[in-house]
């Protein structure tokens, strides 16, 4: 487990994060929040690049002020888009492994495998300066996973990647997660975060505002009734039935009179009721889907539009 206990970080008088209590287990955990919300601060605290002003952090039984032990278990793909001057992709990874203590032969093997994993074997001989943004992102990712750490921290790992590379990287994350690793990542691409994350931590102004899987977080937001869009052959009949339900806050017919828009504070009850109506009235249902139970909606409700 990765555990934050009452962690605060101040940059002088500026708040980085405040009173963070968080336990992260295996799988993909995404940190989501607008710029300056404290995501990177949290990640940098986890790997000891920053020291907490107060509180303690524990990563698999190790504290971040023990880099010589911690980084055998942890790999960090930072957001800093800078590299040592004149270095090639291969040297970038191999030198990292040699500095980590691997003998040259092992370092070469690990370098090759990391390059394969991020599809950069061909470009590895070239200087990193000549790489595109996406390639630079992938070479950093290769470095973070090269020594097969248990915990991988990825700050905006999808930035700059084209859709193809993004799909490959997401597949890699899923594979690593399936192998039992801890993946902690931050991203602005909410629908992709939503798709791949086991757990989402929403951060705003240095505070955690929500934490859990997307559906769990959404179901707890009772002040925001769930919106459901139903397309069927007789929406007026459905609307009449729907108004008999106490949990319904709003029901609105579509302009084309082929759909119904429903807001409910108890989605589970509504779905049971809906199934019953469909069977009793023999409704022809074209589609039914919740409009705002994804991460994007949660983000809008809890944080607002500033970072999305």
């Amino acid at each position: 487990m990765i555990v934050f206990e009452n962690v605060s970080k101040f940059y002088g008088e500026i708040l980085g994060v405040n009173r963070i209590n968080l336990s992260i287990s295996r799988g993909i955990t995404s940190l989501v929040g607008p710029n300056g919300s404290g995501k990177t601060t949290l990640m940098n605290l986890m790997c000891g690049l920053l020291r907490p002003t107060q509180g303690s952090i524990n990563v698999l039984g190790l504290t971040p002020d023990q880099p010589e032990k911690l980084f055998h278990k942890l790999g960090y793909c930072s957001q800093f888009d800078s590299f040592p001057k004149g270095i090639t992709g291969r040297d970038f990874i191999q030198s990292f492994l040699e500095i980590s203590g691997y003998v040259r032969k092992e370092a070469i093997n690990l370098t090759n495998r990391a390059l394969e994993r991020v599809n950069l074997v061909e470009a590895a001989k070239r200087k990193v300066e000549s790489y595109s943004k996406g390639m630079r992102q992938r070479i950093r990712l290769a470095q973070a996973i090269a020594h097969n750490p248990e915990v991988i921290i990825l700050d905006e790992p999808l930035n700059g990647l084209d859709p193809m590379a993004r799909a490959e990287v997401i597949a890699l994350f899923r594979q690593l997660s399936a192998e039992g690793m801890y993946l902690i990542l931050s991203s602005h691409i909410l629908h992709e975060v939503d798709m791949m994350s086991d757990r989402v931590v929403l951060i705003n102004n240095g505070y955690i505002v929500a934490d859990g899987d997307t559906r769990g977080v959404r179901s707890e937001m009772q002040e925001h009734p769930l919106q459901i869009l139903i397309r069927c052959d007789r929406p007026s009949l459905l609307a009449a039935k729907v108004f008999e339900q106490e949990d319904i806050v709003e029901a609105r017919l579509h302009k084309d009179r082929r759909g119904l828009f429903v807001k409910t504070v108890n989605p589970d009850n509504f779905y049971l009721f809906f199934n019953k109506v469909v069977l009793e009235e023999n409704l022809q249902v074209e589609s039914i889907h919740p409009v705002d139970d994804d991460l994007d909606a949660i983000y809008q409700y809890l944080i607002g539009s500033e970072g999305s």
């Binding site: 940059y11 940098n44 790997c47 000891g48 690049l49 920053l50 020291r51 002020d65 880099p67 010589e68 032990k69 911690l70 980084f71 055998h72 278990k73 790999g75 960090y76 930072s78 800093f80 800078s82 590299f83 040592p84 001057k85 004149g86 030198s95 990292f96 040699e98 500095i99 980590s100 203590g101 691997y102 003998v103 092992e106 690990l110 495998r113 394969e116 994993r117 991020v118 599809n119 470095q143 020594h147 097969n148 490959e168 597949a171 890699l172 594979q175 690593l176 192998e179």
Partner: protein
């Protein structure tokens, strides 16, 4: 993308003696730093700077009176003055400042120091390895400067006369002394500049202060002289020069005191640098 590899786990590396691991890490950092220092474009300026005194001696050979150029006493005096005034106080001092300050500061400015901090290496090993890479570079470069200048000063005497002076006279002692002082200069100044690069965002001001402090050492009372590096280095020079009418004369320290004192100073300074780097945070936006 390939499947997950079962790799050399951390335990395999950790299972070995930590000293062996540290040594491997030291070597890897050392190699990487040497490449950075020697092969960077900026280093060309350093090479030119290190060559400067040699140009002076070439000019001396070309334009000076030939009779004087075979007078050993005259040449020793000239060399001693140029060595103390130019090689030691300017070339070695500023060369070391460039090399050692940049060991950490350049990486902070280029936002690449975090790559070292994200490896499982003790930060003390990092400091020591960086220091020794700087020391190797500086010692090599300024040893070449010193020895090449000595070669140039012996050149007009001719081969036989020079060999006789070196092996049957005081020549060898002079060569070894000046070479040793150059290396010790790099040892002492190097550690100080590494510390400045670690502690200060803009190390130019403290480096200037250090330069002035070293420059006025001849005016300082004997007790304060002991707090300058130049005092120990000057004590080792084979030919003692007058420091002028206003100088406060102090007894030079023996080599047995001067050399260990410089090593002790270096050890203390490096320890402080290690403690600082151990606690160092990476927050480039604040730099």
């Amino acid at each position: 993308m390939s499947s997950r590899v079962e790799i050399y786990s951390a335990e395999q590396v950790k299972g070995k003696m930590p000293l062996a691991l540290w040594w491997r890490q030291f070597q890897a950092i050392f190699r990487s730093e040497i490449k950075k220092i020697f092969l960077s474009r900026k280093s060309i300026m350093l090479y030119i700077f290190a060559l400067n005194p040699s140009l002076l001696f070439i000019m001396l050979n070309i334009f000076n009176d030939k009779k004087k150029l075979i007078d050993a006493q005259f040449l020793n005096r000239v060399f001693s003055e140029v060595y103390e005034g130019l090689i030691l106080r300017v070339v070695i001092f500023f060369g070391c400042s460039w090399i050692f300050i940049n060991l950490f500061r350049a990486e902070i400015n280029e936002k690449s120091l975090h790559y070292y901090f994200l490896t499982p290496v003790r930060r003390e090993v990092l400091v020591v390895a960086k220091y020794f890479s700087g020391l190797f570079t500086a010692s090599l470069l300024f040893s070449i400067t010193t020895l090449f200048c000595l070669f140039l000063i012996y050149l007009p005497r001719g081969y036989e006369s020079s060999m006789q002076y070196i092996f049957d006279g005081p020549g060898l002692n002079h060569i070894l002394s000046y070479w040793g002082i150059s290396v010790l200069g790099c040892v002492g100044y190097g550690s100080m500049f590494l510390l400045l690069g670690v502690f200060f965002r803009n190390p130019i001001l403290p480096a200037t202060f250090l330069y002035c402090w070293e420059l006025i050492s001849f005016l300082l009372p004997p007790l304060l002289k002991k707090l300058t590096i130049i005092h120990y280095l000057q004590s080792l020079t084979p030919i003692k020069l007058s420091e002028g009418p206003y100088a406060i004369v102090a007894e030079p320290v023996s080599a047995w005191v001067a050399v260990p004192s410089l090593f002790l100073l270096t050890a203390v300074v490096l320890t402080v640098a290690c403690l600082k780097v151990r606690k160092m945070e990476i927050s480039y936006s604040n730099e």
